[in-house]
Symmetry: C2
Subunit: 310 residues, 2 copies
């Protein structure tokens, strides 16, 4: 293999991005990655420097990189970690929290931590084991809990924007899952930006066009310490299955994921006739927490917590 | 492996259909296959015994099986073979025509043959080699030519229904291609039934829910002689690529193709708000052939033929 040089200077390249026909040294990669993030934020009008942004961090490479980039770009970004109570062999939740705390401390940033068991009486796996909610995987319960808690934290801390670090691999796999199963209502709502509504903050995904290997390269080259384990419950999930299929298609056709995902934006407008998507529909307010819900009474999170106390 | 018995009698099974949890002997399979076809025809109101149906036959297993089944079900079904002029080593077009003629003769059925070179001056590969129309593959030209010629034959022979033998593997691969590339207008029109409009016959696909191995099993067990070669130009096509991906997914999740394809029917209604789909839009009539076209002047087929004579 011939020596690989940076396209912007005479240093050796640290990464080659086939899909962008671009190879960059460490310094220029870190610069490119930050510029790209800023460009996405502006292109989609995600937020500006007067917004107060809450970054949902898991302790993994994507979310800590996102927080790092927003901090370097001088956005008002506070972190929030949700301790789900996943007590695997390697103490997944405790370890993840420690990485988040260390990251925030090193940079003098504010981290909010919500411990699900301490705050709501049970951990996510414990909620999932309750008879009515019990499924093979706690992932559905986890989704409901995270959504509720993130919204609540944004409201509690006066943040008008909530950001998650979903990357292209995440988003494309979810899109493929929703498409191949024809989940029309979920397709309607899949967007890198969900407008504020029903008292909920705007929700944005500034990393949605970065391949997973690009966010991993950023964390690595920036020297960010992060939890490398995946959630032990993710193994064998449907979304991971589609990630595998898309990886294969990307391998055979460079740029496949990016085209599939970004071409959907135009298609979504054609299919649904809406340029913007709101987070909440015209639901009621939950009489307990006040968050919007499609249910007549309590929202599904509050029903779950209530029934655990019965 | 334990002995495999027919689910309807005590004979050994000839085929096992995992996706239907059904295994049948030769006799019951042939019966099942015909019953299923009749059920699809009725479910989608494709045609009845007073309609005059033109069956597009290629000499392959799918189309000859379809013609055989329609004949056994006492529909008024005439065949039409289009000789495209594909002169590969094994004389693909000549050989295919011979299989169609033999099939019609054995059953005393009417076969109409259109030889593209004799009727329009050039074969399909020759049209495709013309400068303006030339592409790497003649498939686009072939699609335009077949569509025009099939419509014309239906009109010429007074057939109000045109049927093709696309199977589930064909339809699911096309659907995946159109979906993953977000060809919204093609998705809108992908349906097992296109209603008559603009002087064109109704177009129907009675085999759209049969796996390719099911139509192959029918041809084999019925003893139909058919051309086994695929069109030499199909190798490496995008649709074949998606067939491969779907085969892999079907292997991992039995019934995948069938769910993906049939769930789309409901989704299409939700996405486009139309229960039925017309073949032609509100286009003009081509001043030469009279068929509907979205162009202002000649339709693309007539333009192609005209420019070959210039």
């Amino acid at each position: 293999m011939p020596a690989m040089y940076c396209h912007r200077c005479d240093q050796m390249a640290a990464i080659r991005m086939k899909e962008h026909r671009l190879q960059l040294c460490k310094e220029h990669y870190l610069e490119w990655f930050i510029q790209q993030t800023q460009a996405y934020i502006q292109k989609f009008h995600m937020f500006n420097r007067s917004d107060k942004v809450l970054v949902a961090v898991s302790g993994g490479k994507d979310s800590l990189s996102l927080w790092d980039v927003l901090w370097r770009l001088n956005y008002q970004a506070e972190g929030m970690y949700i301790h789900l109570g996943i007590d695997s062999e390697d103490h997944y939740s405790d370890a993840s929290e420690a990485y988040c705390r260390q990251f925030a401390e090193e940079r003098g940033l504010t981290l909010h931590v919500v411990n699900v068991r301490e705050r709501y009486g049970k951990s996510v796996p414990e909620f999932a084991h309750m008879k009515k909610w019990g499924k093979e995987r706690p992932c559905a319960v986890c989704g409901v809990a995270k959504r509720h808690i993130m919204n609540q934290a944004a409201i509690d801390h006066g943040c008008n924007v909530l950001t998650t670090a979903h990357n292209l691999d995440d988003e494309a796999a979810l899109l493929m899952l929703n498409t191949m199963n024809w989940h029309v209502e979920l397709l309607r709502r899949q967007s890198p930006i969900l407008e504020a509504s029903g008292g909920l903050p705007r929700k944005v995904k500034p990393f949605c066009r970065f391949y997973e290997r690009e966010t991993a390269a950023y964390a690595l080259l920036r020297g960010i310490d992060y939890v490398e384990e995946e959630c032990p419950h993710a193994t064998g999930s449907t979304q991971l299955y589609y990630k595998g299929i898309l990886n294969q298609m990307e391998h055979e056709h460079s740029g496949y994921k990016l085209n599939f995902y970004t071409n959907f934006w135009n298609a979504r407008e054609k299919l649904f006739g809406q340029k913007t998507v709101k987070d909440a529909g015209d639901g009621n307010a939950c009489p307990n927490c006040g968050q919007p819900t499609t249910a007549d009474g309590l929202c599904s999170f509050c029903r779950m917590v209530n029934s655990s106390q019965a």
